[in-house]
């Protein structure tokens, strides 16, 4: 298909506009994190970097804030890491097992189980805060990492993702493996795990990021300042300041690194999904 030059220019212009739209706010944040608070207050955001970057970062890494003056950014970073990793690992692991059960052992109620699992997508955490809070409190999980992780695990989405992948496996090599003496556990270890590496990487990254960016739920169940996550800490330090901006950068970096690291798997998994539909 040959397009005329103007058509091609137009297409590129649209794409470029999209890229700018997405990236300029991020650049603004990066630039602002290098300005002193006074400049930010006086001149607002600009794309010009300042010379205050190191100082801002030093401030937030040593600053002690909050009522008790005990919160420092490294603690918040650690909390965010624990919570996001927990959500990522639990989501990936549980949905992998759920999808394996649903697809490979076709018991009659499997279909119903799948739709019930999927229906939980219709009830996001926000819509069931009160009951979830009650249960969490009943289990004594207020102010714990476990309490932040468990209700946010996204099994429905992950199960859908893995199910699509498993359904695309040809039945013949599953049967060949049975003849080769692979029982359910061995098949899981020797086939499902290696063949879902990419899909699993993608599910992990997505659920990690959603977990990382959680705000309301951690806010509700952590009254103890030592359990604050980075996203919450931004409010505490104040976005309008140079150090606040540095904290925003610190908050963006880990998920960004993760996406760059997993990019290849991620794209491949998305392509597989496209092919499966």
């Amino acid at each position: 298909m040959h397009r005329s030059l103007t058509q091609r220019l137009f297409a590129h212009a649209v794409l470029l506009a999209g890229v700018l739209f997405l990236i300029v706010p991020v650049l603004l944040v990066f630039a602002a994190s290098t300005q002193p608070t006074s400049v930010l207050v006086a001149e607002g955001l600009s794309l010009v970097p300042g010379r205050h970057g190191l100082e801002n970062f030093r401030t937030i890494l040593t600053l002690q804030a909050g009522f008790t003056d005990q919160i420092i950014a490294t603690d918040m970073l650690r909390n965010s890491m624990i919570v996001a990793t927990g959500i990522g690992v639990a989501t990936t692991g549980l949905s992998l097992l759920a999808a394996y059960g649903l697809v490979m052992f076709r018991l009659p109620p499997a279909g119903a189980f799948f739709w019930i699992t999927l229906a939980t997508l219709l009830l996001p955490l926000e819509s069931r805060f009160i009951t979830t809070f009650q249960i969490t409190s009943y289990l004594g999980l207020i102010n714990t990492h476990t309490g932040m992780i468990l209700p946010a695990v996204m099994v429905a989405l992950g199960t859908l993702f893995f199910r699509q992948l498993f359904l695309s496996f040809p039945g013949e090599y599953i049967e060949a493996a049975r003849l080769d003496g692979a029982g359910p556990v061995r098949f899981f270890v020797d086939f499902i795990l290696p063949l879902s590496r990419e899909r699993g990487g993608a599910v992990f990254v997505v659920s990690f990021m959603i977990g990382w960016n959680q705000y309301l739920w951690p806010l509700m169940i952590s009254t103890d300042e030592r359990h604050y996550t980075l996203v919450r800490g931004i409010r505490l330090i104040g976005q309008e300041s140079g150090p606040g901006m540095a904290l925003v950068v610190l908050t963006i970096l880990p998920p960004l690194l993760l996406v760059i690291l997993f990019q290849r798997w991620f794209l491949r998994a998305l392509e597989e999904t496209r092919d499966a539909f």
């Binding site: 040809p170 013949e172 049967e175 060949a176 049975r178 003849l179 080769d180 003496g181 692979a182």
Partner: protein, 358 residues
């Protein structure tokens, strides 16, 4: 090595579909049996019941003297080659071949020895470290065979293993499978819907029709002595000529066509005359005429197609027949040929039951 025996085997799928209606069969040690039949007749179902991939609804399957109805697939000591090769995509050729042996806790040096032997035999030794997606279809097929061979099973099961290959490769692999099977002398069941493959490979053929064994025997026996219309029409390429007729006491009649030389046939029932293309001869004293409309030259022989003079089908067209002739016999389109055949070489069936009368 073992014999395989099926006793009154039936299969009803969980959704209620009945696939196999009571099959009895005895396969001797080292024999290569081919299941052949049209699509959906139940060949794969029967094979997969022997493999243990489908449950047996009723009846008994024995390998050697062991009843295996409830034995798990991996413990039946059978190896299967699938139509789509079913190679494990994330394992190398070596990994594919060794997987089943490792699961059986075979010592590593024994595994390696078997793989090297099988790879040499199949000429895939230079591919052992490749992934399946780096192989051609024919090479994948060989790997699939290799995976079965290294298991050194009591029974080989093949489900249309060659149908994804191109015609030339299919012939080549067919010959190779036959040689391998002879050499290893392992009892084998081979499923195909290709009658040429069936004829050339089989020690004995089982023609399956709608979940039942219609006839079982050596290929040439089925060819020259079919018990039913179905078997006669399924075995033989080009297909047998089938001419609907009735018997008037002295002749077989279809429209203006009258064929003498038959006796002792029921009158008043519809019959079918079956004449193989290779027993038809061009013969000036013959009993019917043919108007040539197509000649296929196959090199050593010609297939001559045309309409049979004086006959009509239900649709009002003249009947099509086919004649196999020598290379030199090359009529032009619209030539009239007079044909004859020896009545002893023809078959007569009842149309309603398909039963052979002569």
């Amino acid at each position: 090595m073992a014999q395989v025996e099926l006793k009154q085997v039936r299969k009803t799928y969980p959704n209620g579909a009945e696939a196999i209606f009571g099959v009895d069969m005895k396969i001797d040690d080292g024999e290569l049996i081919v299941f052949v039949g049209p699509s959906g007749c139940g060949k794969s179902t029967l094979l997969r019941m022997v493999a243990g991939l489908e449950s047996v609804t009723s009846g008994e399957i024995l390998i050697g003297d062991r009843l295996i109805n409830d034995v798990s697939p991996s413990e039946r000591d059978v190896a299967m080659v699938f139509q789509n090769y079913a190679l494990y995509p994330h394992m190398s050729v070596r990994g594919n071949m060794s997987y089943g042996l490792k699961n059986r806790k075979m010592p590593a040096d024994e595994i390696e020895r078997r793989i090297v032997d099988a790879a040499k035999m199949l000429k895939i030794d230079q591919f052992l470290d490749r992934q399946p997606n780096q192989l051609s279809g024919g090479q994948r097929q060989r790997v699939a065979m290799g995976r079965a061979i290294v298991r050194n099973p009591q029974v080989f099961l093949f489900d249309e293993p060659l149908s994804n290959l191109d015609a030339k490769l299919r012939v080549q692999m067919r010959i190779e499978i036959k040689r391998l099977q002879r050499r290893m002398n392992v009892t084998s069941i081979y499923v195909t819907h290709d009658q040429t493959e069936a004829m050339t490979l089989a020690d004995r053929l089982a023609v399956i029709n709608e979940g039942q064994v219609e006839q079982m025997g050596a290929p040439m026996e089925l060819y020259s002595n079919p018990r039913t219309l179905f078997v006669a029409s399924f075995i033989g390429a080009p297909q047998i000529n089938l001419i609907p007729v009735s018997f008037d006491g002295t002749h077989l009649v279809n429209g203006d066509l009258k064929l003498a030389g038959f006796s002792d046939l029921p009158q008043g029932t519809e019959l079918v005359l079956g004449v193989r293309p290779d027993v038809l001869r061009v013969d000036a004293g013959g009993q019917f005429g043919m108007n040539v409309d197509l000649v296929e030259q196959h090199g050593g022989e010609n297939l001559i197609y045309g309409s049979l003079g004086g006959t009509t089908t239900d649709a009002g067209e003249p009947l099509e027949i086919c004649l196999k002739a020598a290379q030199a016999m090359l009529p032009a389109i619209d030539d009239q040929l007079t044909l004859g055949f020896d009545p002893d070489t023809a078959f007569i069936f009842r149309k309603d039951t398909g039963e052979r009368l002569k």
